[in-house]
Structures are given as structure tokens and as C-alpha cells.
Symmetry: C2
Subunit: 328 residues, 2 copies
């Protein structure tokens, strides 16, 4: 029997739980443990026989873990954890602050390479599968335009960002495609649209006792990278409403490349996701790329990588010959 790929999870929230669940769907992997900054005794895994450790102890498991999947947030956790953990482990993360990716890539690369580790950053669906479809689209249809629509869906990164605003007790953020813009794009008419025209953002916010609603709203709509480029509406709701009406985490969206070839023939490529659970889907992408990271590392391919650097065949448990026979 082939040795299983031994996975560790760093950070056990919605994403970490999704990763645990995805690992159990992949027979060539096994979960060594989850690592948390909380008291390990307060963290319950889906499979109670899998141990939970303090994140501070993770280095003790250098020899027991093949790939560490980082499930912390992009804003506060990963900028510090990514480079720190890539020194000791081959890692996967879902760093999704698009504007800071080049800086983050360099920080991780500088640590991973000399330590002979492989770190695939910004894995998930956007950045991730959507990014790849933007790349395939513009590479194949050189004369054309790429459109990305998100939603309707709850955005984890944006919800986290709102929750960190002082005075916010709880919050969710939905991204909603503008239906008129979608129709224009699908028609092949190549409209010029700004991201702002393509989407709106809606936040449902529970205030801390005594917080100033106007100040909180202002802090949200002016937050750089997250909200400044979009029409954002903030609704204040009660804690009961938040729990009752906003517990599910659906998401989705589509990447459309519309281009012309030859004498002006229209060619349209559309990649669409309809997700009932965004964190579970992102987690499933992370787990598939964990397999690729393991193989790259085994092949001596060290340093920071992104989905652009990973040959698709490395994601599958099947051999290259089987893939050619069954899937090509």
C-alpha cells in the first residue's frame, strides 16, 4: 500500500472544519491533527479521535506532517503565519487580499526556498480556480475581454473584515451581481463595466452595546481593498436576526471570457460555480492542492507557488497514464 499523505490543519474555524471533512473524502490522505490558538480542549473535531494541539507546539510535528494547511484569516493571521510556518512545513493557504499577493508571495518564497519547503499560496476559488479561468481565457482568446462576477453569496473574507471594525459584534457580507450587467456580458456585446457597476455589496451588522452606527458604517464603506471600489449598503440588525437569517454560507459566481477570432466570430467561455457552502468548497480546493504541494516538494520544486505554477495532473490521486486514458 502506498503511504498516505499526512496533513495538519493550522486554525480550526469554518475553513478548518471544511478541510477536515474534505480530507475524509480523499483516501490517499490522513489527518495528523489540528493546531489551534485556543485552548485545545475547547476545540472539537468532526472525528473526535483526531488530536488537537496548541498551535505553539506545531514545530514538534515537523517530521509527522507532509503538508500543513493554513486556515487562518488573510487580514491578520496569514501575513504572519504564512512565512513563519513555511520555514518548517510544506504549506497551502487561501490568502485572498488580492492587492497584497505579490508582497505575501515574496515573503513566503524567501523562507520556503532555503528551507526546501513548497508553499502554494492563494488557493481556493478566487483567488484560485477563478484566477486560472481568467488566465486560460485571455491566453486562448487574445482579442477579448474578461469579466468576473461574484455571488450572490456570503463572502468570508469581507465578513471577517467587517467583524474586525470596532463596534461590530457580528456581521455578514453578501456580494450580488448586477443582473443587467450579466445579461450584457453574456450577449457577447463586450460592454465596458467597472467592478462597481458589476456588483453591489450588502452588509448585515450587529452593533456592540453603545457603538455608534454612523461611525461603524463609515469605517466599513471606506475600508481599502475591501469596500472602497463598490457600492456598499450597511443594514443594522439584531443578534437574533443574524443567527436566524444569515447562518448559511452560499456563494458562487462566474468568469466569462468573450472574444473574437478570425473574421470576427464570437467565442464565449464561461466558468460558473454554484456553492451551497463556500468554506467547504474552498477547503476542497485546498485539499486537492495539498496533494500537488506534496508532489512538488517530493520532486525538489521548492519555494512559493500559486495555482498558475501547478500542472493540473498533480491535483489528482490518479497516475498520469490513468488520467490520459480516463479523462483526456
Amino acid at each position: 500500500m502506498t503511504k498516505k499523505i499526512r496533513i495538519g490543519i493550522a486554525g480550526y474555524g469554518n475553513l478548518g472544519r471544511g478541510v477536515e471533512s474534505a480530507i475524509y473524502q480523499n483516501g490517499d490522505m490522513e489527518l495528523v491533527g489540528a493546531f489551534t490558538r485556543r485552548n485545545p480542549e475547547d476545540v472539537n473535531l468532526l472525528n473526535e479521535s483526531v488530536p488537537v494541539y496548541a498551535l505553539a507546539r506545531v514545530e514538534d510535528f515537523k517530521e509527522e506532517i507532509d503538508v500543513l494547511i493554513l486556515c487562518g484569516g488573510s487580514k491578520n493571521d496569514l501575513p504572519e503565519q504564512g512565512p513563519m510556518l513555511a520555514k518548517h512545513f510544506t504549506t497551502i493557504d487561501s490568502f485572498d487580499t488580492h492587492a497584497d499577493i505579490p508582497k505575501y508571495f515574496d515573503a513566503v518564497d524567501q523562507v520556503a526556498k532555503p528551507n526546501e519547503k513548497t508553499a502554494i499560496i492563494s488557493v481556493g476559488w478566487d483567488p484560485g480556480l477563478f484566477s486560472m479561468n481568467r488566465l486560460f481565457g485571455e491566453s486562448v482568446l487574445a482579442d477579448g475581454t474578461t469579466y468576473t462576477f461574484w455571488g450572490k453569496g456570503l463572502s468570508q473574507g469581507h465578513s471577517d473584515a467587517v467583524r474586525r471594525v470596532p463596534g461590530v459584534k457580528g456581521a455578514v457580507q453578501y456580494t450580488i451581481p448586477n443582473p443587467e450587467a450579466v445579461e450584457q456580458v453574456r450577449s457577447g456585446s463586450l460592454p465596458e463595466l467597472t467592478t462597481r457597476e458589476q456588483h453591489t455589496r450588502e452588509c448585515y451588522v450587529v452593533l456592540e452595546e453603545g457603538a455608534d452606527a454612523k461611525e461603524v458604517e463609515q469605517a466599513i464603506v471606506t475600508m481599502p481593498n475591501y469596500f472602497t471600489n463598490h457600492d456598499t449598503t450597511v443594514h443594522f440588525i439584531s443578534e437574533e436576526e443574524l443567527k436566524r437569517d444569515h447562518a448559511a454560507m452560499p456563494h458562487g459566481g462566474f468568469v466569462i471570457r468573450s472574444g473574437k477570432t478570425g473574421d470576427g466570430n464570437n467565442q464565449v467561455i464561461e466558468y460558473a460555480l454554484k456553492l451551497e457552502s463556500n468554506p467547504e468548497f474552498t477547503a476542497s480546493v485546498l485539499v486537492a492542492y495539498a496533494r500537488a504541494a506534496y508532489r512538488l516538494n517530493q520532486n525538489g520544486d521548492y519555494g512559493a507557488k500559486t495555482v498558475f505554477d501547478v500542472a493540473p495532473g498533480l491535483l489528482s490521486p490518479k497516475s498520469a497514464a490513468t488520467l490520459r486514458k480516463e479523462l483526456l
Copy 2:
């Protein structure tokens, strides 16, 4: 200025013309010439200043061509030309007889590797982009089902196959998705469907003078790999009708992966193509992969490859750092 990638085209039909046209959309490439088995003087390129040579002379251009794009047919041309030309050139082809891919891969690999050439086989949209989406789908959603629908569209490979049947003067073949099957799949109900239930095939055939319609029909519907697994209808039409009603070459289709994560959340990935010109789109894919083949070869990565072996970033004229900044 960076040196342009020098491309040659072997075989100048619809696909070859599409490749020529796609090369002119990519500023980092230049077309050295087209190579034909016909009399070169009878072949007119879109750009008349580009030379046409006899295919028999192609070896004389070993030093002038970086990548040779093979535009012959899968049934009769490529099985012979692929291994022959991969001895002297880094090549791209669109070999699309799915059942014979493993054999063809080995034949090309055996020649390319010792000669330090790189040959990416079976490039296009199916096999090609669709194959990759089947792979991504099952790698990310381990617990699920993949469905491929083709059409409505004219299939080049199947039309060629019909045209080679004795007694056939001209023909086109359309593949048509079964709308009920499509609806079932999109609902997420994971129906069990055979390829036959998902599609029908329609052939429009012009008979040679004196040919027996019954015999021709029988030869078509019993053709292995191409028609035996589908409900196939053969319509006999006049040459005028063929020219008037069946000159366009639209195609498309979709790959859908429907799967479950966590406690049973439905996740649906759909990849869809709507193409006004199938050969021009296939040609655009070949040209993007020609760039990747050139880079793989420059990096010393020799032998036969498929789209599964090619990191997406290699397809783009942009640098890895620019891709991370602009597209991730």
C-alpha cells in the same frame, strides 16, 4: 526586444487557417510558413507574404522553427505524422480519437524524448480544456459525478470520419445535447446517464453518383469509436443544400461536476463554451499551448505531454510576477 516564437503550420485546412489567424493575434509569435501535401502554389494563406512549402521539405526548416503546429486529421494524418515530426520539431497537435490517446502518446514520447523535443498532444477543447475541467472537477469534489455535454455543434472529427466512408461525396455531423438530460444534471440530482442518453448525432450526407444509401448509412452508424455508442440519424441531402445550410462551424458544450461536501451541501461547477467557429477556437487553444511547448522545451522538459502536464502560467505571454499581480 525579446525574440519572437517562430511557428510553422503542418497542414493547411480549416484548422491550419485558424492557427494562422490566431498567430496574428499574439504579438510574441511569428509565422515562418505553412507546409502542405498539396501543390504549394495552390495554397493561399490569409497573409500572402508568408511562404507555403511542400510538407516533404519540412526537415529543412529544423533550425528556423521553434514549434510546429500539426493541423492534420486524427484518423489518417496524425498517427503517422505525429511521431515522424516530433523527431525533428517541438510539436502541438489536436489528436482527438480518445480511445487511441494512450497508444499515440507512447508513440510520440518514444521519438520526442531521445531527440530532445517536446510534443503536447491532444490539445484543443475536447480533448483539452474540457479534459482539464473533468480533472479539476473530480480532484476538487471527490464525492460527485462528472457530465460532459457536446453541442449543439458541428464536429470536425466526426464529419471527417463520415466523409471518408466510401460513397460519401460530402457530409457534416452535428452533436446535440438531450435537453431533458441537461436539466436533470443542472438540478444537482446526480442522474445516472449514458453518453447515448445525453446526446444524439445527426449526419447530413451528399452521396457520390451511384452510391447505395443503405450501405452508406450502415457504414456510418456502425463506425467504431465515432458512432457505435450514440443514436445516430443520417439525412441524405443535395450538394446545394450542404453548401447553403451547413457552411458555418459552430460548436460548444459544457462539463458539469456536481458533488457533495460536508454534511451534504451541493456544489456545482460548470464550464461552458459557446463557439461560432469551432476550428478557430481549437486553433486558438493550439497557439496558446505552442507558447507553453516552447517554454517547456527551453527548460529541458522533453517528451510527450498533455494539457494535464502543463502549468497554466506557461500559456500566457505575461511573466509569472505580472500574472500574480494582475490575474490572481
